[in-house]
């Protein structure tokens, strides 16, 4: 009978392997999500400078309301968002929705500069949002299926973390242990070190990821409790989120109260954070309500406090503070930790690095799986075809994905601006590059493919700032802050990160190259390998 540790080891190995490739994809694209709005700006170089908020932003809110009421006087609701921090669009976002005379739902939105000019449409791009959303939607499949797969992967990951903790006998003693150039032992050490070092992050990101898809996995319970009708859905939303029916219009026309006093009044409830958003329900009617929100990213909890006012008299009606009183508040806290909207620049770097190290943990685990199987082969015994294929695919997945992501940034700058479906083509470039990397690794074999793909990815990343300088005006020469010039750290930061990431991958390519050169016989492809037959162990063994 297997001991608990052996059972956990088995579970850790297989849960990790089964969804390892998906988890690696989720870690890398999810990590890019920590800079989604920065990448958005970088990928839209035509857009003007961001709006700079002065005072409490009431003039911008009033401007947004005036614009929305001019565009859609009959709308049922408006919203206005001002860019209080990186979480929001860098311009004044205005939106409206309602029903037309035929009863059809209509909506519209616009982005305005500080002086009320409409921000021109940028190039058609997926931007940072597509890259970020890919980590749970997987882009090409229906959203619900994507969420299901992401949830399943998170579930397996959580099982792998817990079983990994139990399996790892000397978790404290091995905390700082990394032995290089020891073959399988080095891979195991790397996997352990990356896992233990980022353990709090791994547990948090996995558990909170599961909470995101909770309603999908617990759908039967919700259906059993509430039913499946539209009314049942409304009842659930009202009970859980406290969002009730909107008041019916009376038809009595009334002007909206000025916004500025409401903002001053609302900030008495949340004095330490700026007002970032307001919504107007039933504008122009006697039943108008105005809800003024704080900033979602001021605290860990992913929830903005708000105050609701009578839209005609300005009377304070309701208040929703942040709190830790309900299950929903706990979920909001975990989801806030997952998205890290609250993180300032330094903490954001730490989140980003933790995400990348998480990707490294999965990658080392995948390689370790193949190394272990190779180690078990007796002398003279050839590796199975499945092992050879997995070895090659591991290279294509692990080294090919960064290559694809780098290609995404190149596509943003090089695809023709008038290309139909341009944003989609940017995404296609990621997956086409990735597919090419997988094919390349199958043809070239792991040793060569590691070096070539890592080197290519490093070159693509490092050259991005140069490509940027050749194709736009938002290059480091203009964006780096200098004495007498404020610069733009957001845009410069994206370019600099590309160089840092490229340098890191180049270092990995150098190590892979040294290993290949140290065993030239292993890199040399034999006729039997070209015919697809397994190579003899001495030539492929570490």
């Amino acid at each position: 009978m297997k001991s608990l540790r052996q059972s956990m080891s088995w579970m850790h190995t297989w849960t990790g392997l089964l969804l390892g490739w998906i988890l690696y994809f989720m870690f890398l694209t999810g990590s890019a999500g920590y800079y989604d709005t920065e990448i958005d700006r970088w990928m839209k170089p035509e857009q003007p400078a961001p709006v700079d908020i002065t005072g409490d932003g009431s003039a911008l809110f009033q401007m947004g309301i005036d614009y929305a009421s001019a565009q859609a006087p009959q709308a049922d609701s408006y919203f206005v968002i001002v860019p209080t921090n990186r979480t929001y669009s860098p311009y004044v976002s205005v939106g409206w929705q309602g029903t037309d005379e035929g009863g059809e739902r209509v909506s519209g939105r616009a982005q305005l500069t500080a002086d009320g000019q409409i921000v021109p449409d940028p190039r058609d791009t997926g931007g940072g949002q597509s890259l970020y959303q890919m980590h749970w939607t997987f882009h090409y499949i229906p959203r619900a299926l994507g969420e299901f797969i992401a949830g399943l992967a998170a579930f397996f990951m959580f099982a792998a973390i817990l079983s990994g903790i139990i399996t790892h006998k000397k978790i404290i003693a091995d905390f700082f242990t990394l032995r290089l150039s020891k073959g399988q032992r080095s891979w195991l050490d790397s996997h352990n070190v990356l896992s233990v070092m980022t353990l709090p992050y791994q547990i948090m990101i996995t558990y909170s990821g599961l909470l995101f898809v909770g309603t999908l996995f617990f759908a039967p319970i919700i259906v059993a409790q509430y039913g499946v009708s539209e009314d049942a859905r409304d009842a659930l939303i009202e009970e859980v989120f406290g969002i009730g029916d909107e008041p019916e219009r009376t038809g009595e026309a009334m002007d909206l109260t000025p916004i500025a006093p409401l903002i001053v009044e609302a900030r008495k409830s949340f004095p330490n954070e700026p007002v970032s958003r307001l919504t107007v329900t039933n504008p122009g009617d006697a039943t108008a309500h105005i809800q003024v929100f704080g900033t979602i990213s001021e605290a860990i909890q992913r929830k903005a406090p708000s105050v609701t006012f009578n839209g005609v008299t300005g009377e304070r009606l309701e208040e929703y503070p942040r709190g830790i009183a309900s299950a929903l508040d706990v979920i909001d806290t975990f989801e806030g930790l997952h998205e890290a909207l609250f993180a300032g620049p330094i903490l954001r770097v730490l989140f980003f690095l933790s995400g990348l190290l998480g990707g490294g943990m999965v990658a080392t685990g995948l390689v370790l799986w193949t190394k272990k199987r190779r180690q078990k082969l007796s002398p003279g015994m050839s590796a199975s075809k499945s092992l050879l294929v997995i070895e090659r695919l591991n290279v294509g997945v692990v080294a090919g994905l960064p290559l694809g992501i780098a290609a995404y940034f190149w596509a943003n700058r090089l695809l023709p601006l008038n290309l139909a479906g341009r944003a989609d083509w940017e995404i296609h470039v990621i997956f086409l590059t990735w597919a090419a990397a997988l094919t390349h690794s199958l043809i070239r074999g792991p040793k060569n493919a590691w070096v070539e793909q890592l080197a290519a990815a490093a070159a693509l990343f490092i050259l991005i700032p140069i490509l940027n300088a050749l194709t736009t005006d938002i290059h480091l020469g203009n964006t780096l802050p200098l004495p007498g010039r404020p610069g733009d750290w957001v845009l410069a930061g994206v370019d600099l990160w590309m160089v840092i990431i490229g340098a890191g991958i180049a270092y990995a390519a150098r190590i892979a190259s040294q290993k290949t050169q140290a065993s030239p016989a292993a890199a040399k492809r034999t006729p039997s390998a070209r015919r697809g037959r397994p190579l003899p162990p001495p030539q492929l063994a570490e």
Binding site: A173, F175, R179, M197, P200, I300
Partner: protein
């Protein structure tokens, strides 16, 4: 600046904790250090890490402070591991071997 203080406290603490382990003492000095040294490094290291936690919590509050501490500890241990593996002479210089 306040970040840097927390990070340095954690880094020194984690480095001392790593040197307090016999396997790393062998790696650095070729032999284990006297037990009194190991004990001192362990206690000192724990105190520095605890100081880093306290610093972060006092400065950023319980919620954000603990999150920041986790991030700092991750990068700090990454640096310690990299130094231990690639440049052990740095650790040997900081944590001197007792004279015989």
């Amino acid at each position: 600046m306040s970040w840097l203080v927390g990070f340095l406290l954690a880094l020194i603490g984690l480095a001392a904790l790593s040197v307090s382990m016999q396997k790393h003492q062998r790696q650095l000095y070729g032999a284990p250090l006297p037990a009194s040294y190991s004990k001192a490094y362990r206690r000192g290291g724990s105190a520095f890490v605890a100081g880093a936690v306290l610093w972060c919590v006092l400065l950023f509050g319980w919620g954000q402070g603990l999150v920041i501490m986790c991030g700092i500890a991750t990068v700090g241990s990454l640096l310690v591991i990299a130094t231990m593996t690639l440049k052990p002479s740095v650790l040997r210089f900081v944590f001197r071997q007792p004279r015989a």
